[in-house]
């Protein structure tokens, strides 16, 4: 959800998550770790948005293709990475999250 297109009141009753909520107990979320390992960021300005969008996208589509990832992330702009490593990061996170889900 984009902060610039929603009034705060519209979120009443919802659970709002921002990037600060991803890591837990000192451990990075799989998505954060994937962006780190796949070099999915450079200046970092788009990163919180990319991470939160990826988080939501993978909830809806836990096993996406690369093309689905590109479409799913198309609402977030980046000027530094050219998106290629971001796509890799989301695919890597998807795999990790699925393995964790299977293990659990």
């Amino acid at each position: 959800m984009k902060a610039c297109t929603h009034l705060t009141v519209q979120c009443e009753g919802s659970d709002v998550k921002t990037v600060e909520s991803l890591a837990s107990g000192g451990a990075l979320h799989a998505i954060q770790d994937a962006f780190y390992k796949e070099h999915g960021l450079q200046c970092g300005f788009c990163t919180p948005g990319m991470l939160m969008r990826a988080y939501r996208f993978l909830q809806d589509n836990p096993n996406p293709t690369a093309e689905e990832v590109r479409h799913g992330m198309s609402g977030n702009l980046c000027r530094c990475t050219g998106y290629q490593n971001i796509v890799k990061a989301v695919l890597t996170a998807a795999k990790t999250l699925q393995q964790t889900a299977v293990a659990a």
Partner: protein, 800 residues
């Protein structure tokens, strides 16, 4: 302690390692610190009243209504800045620029007044409430019209000044004429050549549009008389020097901090009126003042890129050997010449336009022109007009190839500067350090199976039912970066050296500071890698700091791919000073002579005796514990590096496009980018930046444009229209490399990552035009939007 060599080398995570980035931890956890994150106690907000018209006299400004709004503290105009002599300021190009419009407006969206208030909301209301009466004047938009006799005069402040900063001015709207090369020899070569070709082309006005817009938080402490400013600047030390000069506050009491920056791309090099006004407001009001522009302001008023109208000519033999290159440029600079170029080069490094080719004679002439548009011209990963130069020469080589019916790879091979010819002095006087173009070209052509692609293209051309036109673009470019030797390169008189200071701690870790500033280029990682290899300390425990002028040694900042060539050299040289001292200490500790020692990855060991060694960690302790007699305690060094030459990275890019004959829509089927930046510090970091630069190039070539109507209204200055590719439009990039080190650089590195922007843009045009080449089309201008391509299809009789 005695692990195998390869393990010890890996543990350093030094040069050449694709190690993960040290900066990431804060960015992936929302702990980045950008200018707009700064919140200071008592901080005020500033917003700007901007001109709605391109050319006008200001008759009246009425602040009354604005000042009545609760929370609005002050409204400043040029008249308020006059007593401080700050209503105009010097530009980086030897011109002056209005800080706030002084009786006259020169471009739409120009800064006319600033409103300062307690919060963002009342300040915005204040901006709406300021009443300005304008008397519109005829706007001058076309640079060719601007040079004609009788054109409206833009710069009334320059009337009567026949001499500009770069020599004589031919007319009221003319800024300079700059030339390089040998006109006589070039004209003679053209007069006698068997074959000549000529092509007009326009490199249109675009804008870097980083994700983070420009802004600052200025905070003057009236008790201490000290000014601190957090600012989106790619050159914080230069800002400090200029701010000191303008304000009269000594540099030692001015602190400029560039924190995390959300993309620069040259947009954050100039000093903008917003910064000056925020600083003045803070000094006058004694409270911190924050100014952050919005997207439309960023696109409309900050440093644009390009807008070069070029005519290129080549003279050649009948079998395709280029004898001479000649070019003229009409350069649209906007209303003030604020081009961010080194002082002596009003057209930047445009004279690298003889490219990768061995051309005996060449000449270029550039005329700068004033128009009613925002100032700028040098930005957007251009390496100081190298984008324009490479575009020109690569288009011309294609045009010549087409005229002679030669293959576009074959004509390039024929004209390449050969490996044995380096160091090579070009017809424009550049001394290229090293290169091996043919090896790189062979690698690319093999990787894509070029012959098969040309065969496929021929088949498709012969098939009337084929729904697409297939184009193959090829660019073999050489850049000039790493500005630069102080005897020829200066910014406002300050030589373009750079610096590094390294301090090693008693327990073996280190802090290093440089005069550059990363905006995403991973300096905190790559710089640490250089030091790790030089000193045998793991890059994990080397902390790199940049951007705070109170602590960092003086440097000229990060742009023009200069960080690795200049600061990277300073880093190696500073580290080597420490390395030499460490050797002395090691010899003392082991009671041998220095001649008995050899360096191995992370330790000095006695030759022939693996068991007798001292690691850098042990030496660091000794330096603080009991240094040898005659040696100062501590282990640190500073180096200021004045480069002996520029560096010359190069690349070979190949692109395959398929254009829909009915709609003009283009699919980029393949893009293969080979870069040679000399020694590669971190392959992962390089590849990431190449992806980013190629994506910017794709955007420029295929869709970006800032245009103006006849009245000077800027069009396309929001993200509704300005093409920023998403993950969907962006092609998949294939990257490759060769390594041809720079012989004059301490670690052989040349700098990288403007190359993908510089090189990809002409590659796209080359591919698009190649798709039409069999129909006799030699060129059409960017951007290659579907609509514009469809118009070409109509012209060629393909689309209806």
């Amino acid at each position: 302690m005695n692990a195998p060599l390869s393990e010890r080398e890996k543990a350093l995570m030094g040069m050449g390692e694709p190690r993960l980035r040290k900066e990431d931890a804060r960015f992936i956890q929302g702990k980045g610190n950008y200018v707009d994150d700064m919140k200071l106690h008592g901080m005020l907000h500033m917003d700007i009243v901007r001109a709605p018209v391109a050319h006008a006299r200001i008759k009246r400004i009425n602040k009354e209504a604005a000042l009545k709004i609760p929370g609005v503290i002050a409204v400043l105009t040029a008249d308020d800045l006059k007593p401080l002599k700050l209503h105009w300021m010097p530009t980086l190009a030897g011109d002056v620029q209005a800080v706030l419009a002084d009786e006259k407006v020169h471009f739409q969206m120009q800064e006319v007044a600033v409103v300062i208030g307690e919060d963002r909301y009342c300040t915005a209301d204040g901006v709406e409430a300021v009443e300005v009466e304008y008397e519109e004047l005829e706007a001058v938009i076309d640079p060719f019209e601007a040079l004609k006799p009788g054109a409206p005069v833009l710069r009334e402040d320059l009337v009567g000044k026949a001499e500009g900063a770069h020599g004589p001015r031919k007319s009221p709207n003319h800024i300079f004429n700059w030339q390089a090369g040998d006109k006589e020899a070039t004209d003679a070569a053209f007069a006698s050549a068997a074959v000549t070709v000529s092509q007009d082309m326009h490199y249109p006005r675009v804008h870097p549009c980083p994700l983070e817009t420009c802004g600052c938080v200025a905070s003057f402490d009236p008790v201490r008389g000290e000014l601190t400013t957090w600012i989106t600047s790619q050159a914080p030390h230069v800002v400090r020097t200029v701010v000191s000069m303008l304000s009269g506050i000594p540099e030692s009491k001015v602190r400029i901090i560039s924190p995390d920056i959300g993309g620069g791309f040259g947009n954050k090099v100039p000093i903008y009126p917003g910064y000056v006004c925020a600083i003045v407001a803070s000094i006058v009001l004694g409270r911190p003042v924050k100014w952050v522009e919005d997207r439309i302001e960023n696109l409309s008023s900050t440093g644009f890129a390009r807008d070069y109208h070029m005519t290129g000519e080549l003279a050649a033999t009948a079998d395709g050997k280029i004898l001479a290159l000649r070019t003229h440029v009409t350069a649209d600079h906007g209303a003030f010449d604020a081009c961010a170029d080194p002082t002596k080069f009003p057209a930047g490094m445009f004279h690298i336009c003889s490219g990768s080719y061995d051309i005996a004679a060449a000449h270029c002439s550039v005329d700068g022109v004033y128009t009613n548009k925002a100032p700028g011209g040098v930005a957007y990963r251009c390496s100081f007009r190298v984008t324009e130069a490479v575009y020109l020469v690569e288009r011309m080589v294609d045009v010549l190839a087409q005229k002679l019916g030669m293959d576009k790879a074959e004509i390039r091979s024929k004209n390449f500067i050969k490996r044995e010819q380096f160091p090579y002095k070009s017809a424009f006087g550049f001394e290229y350090d090293s290169g091996d173009y043919q090896t790189a070209l062979d690698k690319v052509l093999n990787a894509v199976d070029y012959k098969a692609l040309r065969a496929e293209q021929a088949e498709k051309r012969a098939d009337p039912d084929c729904p697409t036109l297939m184009g193959i673009g090829l660019v073999t470019f050489t850049e000039v970066v790493g500005a630069g030797p102080s005897k020829i390169c200066d910014i406002l008189g300050v030589g373009m050296f750079d610096s590094c200071e390294i301090r090693v701690h008693p327990t073996g870790s280190a802090i290093a500071r440089m005069g550059t500033i990363s905006q995403g280029q991973a300096h905190q990682t790559t710089y640490a890698q250089i030091i790790a290899t030089e000193l045998g300390i793991s890059s994990e425990i080397i902390q790199v700091e940049e951007g705070d002028t109170h602590t960092a040694p003086y440097g000229l900042g990060t742009y023009g791919s200069r960080s690795t060539p200049v600061a990277g050299a300073a880093i190696a040289m500073a580290a080597r000073k420490i390395h030499a001292k460490a050797k002395t200490i090691a010899a003392h500790l082991m009671e041998v002579s220095e001649a008995d020692l050899e360096w191995e990855i992370d330790r000095f060991k006695v030759k022939g005796n693996d068991a007798k060694f001292k690691t850098m960690t042990e030496i660091a302790w000794a330096a603080h514990h009991q240094p040898p007699a005659g040696l100062e305690p501590g282990l640190e060094a500073v180096h200021y590096y004045d480069p002996p030459n520029f560096t010359y990275p190069f690349g070979i890019y190949l692109c395959v496009v398929d254009i829909d004959k009915a709609t003009g829509e283009t699919k980029v089927r393949r893009f293969y980018a080979l870069d040679d930046c000399g020694t590669r510090i971190n392959p992962m970091v390089i590849e990431g930046q190449i992806h980013g630069g190629l994506t910017e190039g794709f955007a420029v070539a295929m869709g970006q444009l800032l245009s103006f109507d006849k009245q000077g209204n800027i069009q396309g200055n929001s993200l509704m229209d300005y093409f920023l590719p998403t993950a969907v439009e962006t092609p998949h990039w294939e990257t490759d490399y060769t390594v041809t080190p720079s012989p004059h650089h301490p670690i052989g590195a040349k700098g990288v990552a403007e190359s993908p922007h510089v090189g990809s843009i002409p590659t796209f045009t080359s591919a698009m035009v190649d798709a039409f080449a069999h129909l006799g089309v030699t060129h059409f201008n960017m951007p290659h939007t579907a609509y514009r391509v469809w118009q070409q299809l109509k012209l060629a009789g393909i689309a209806s």
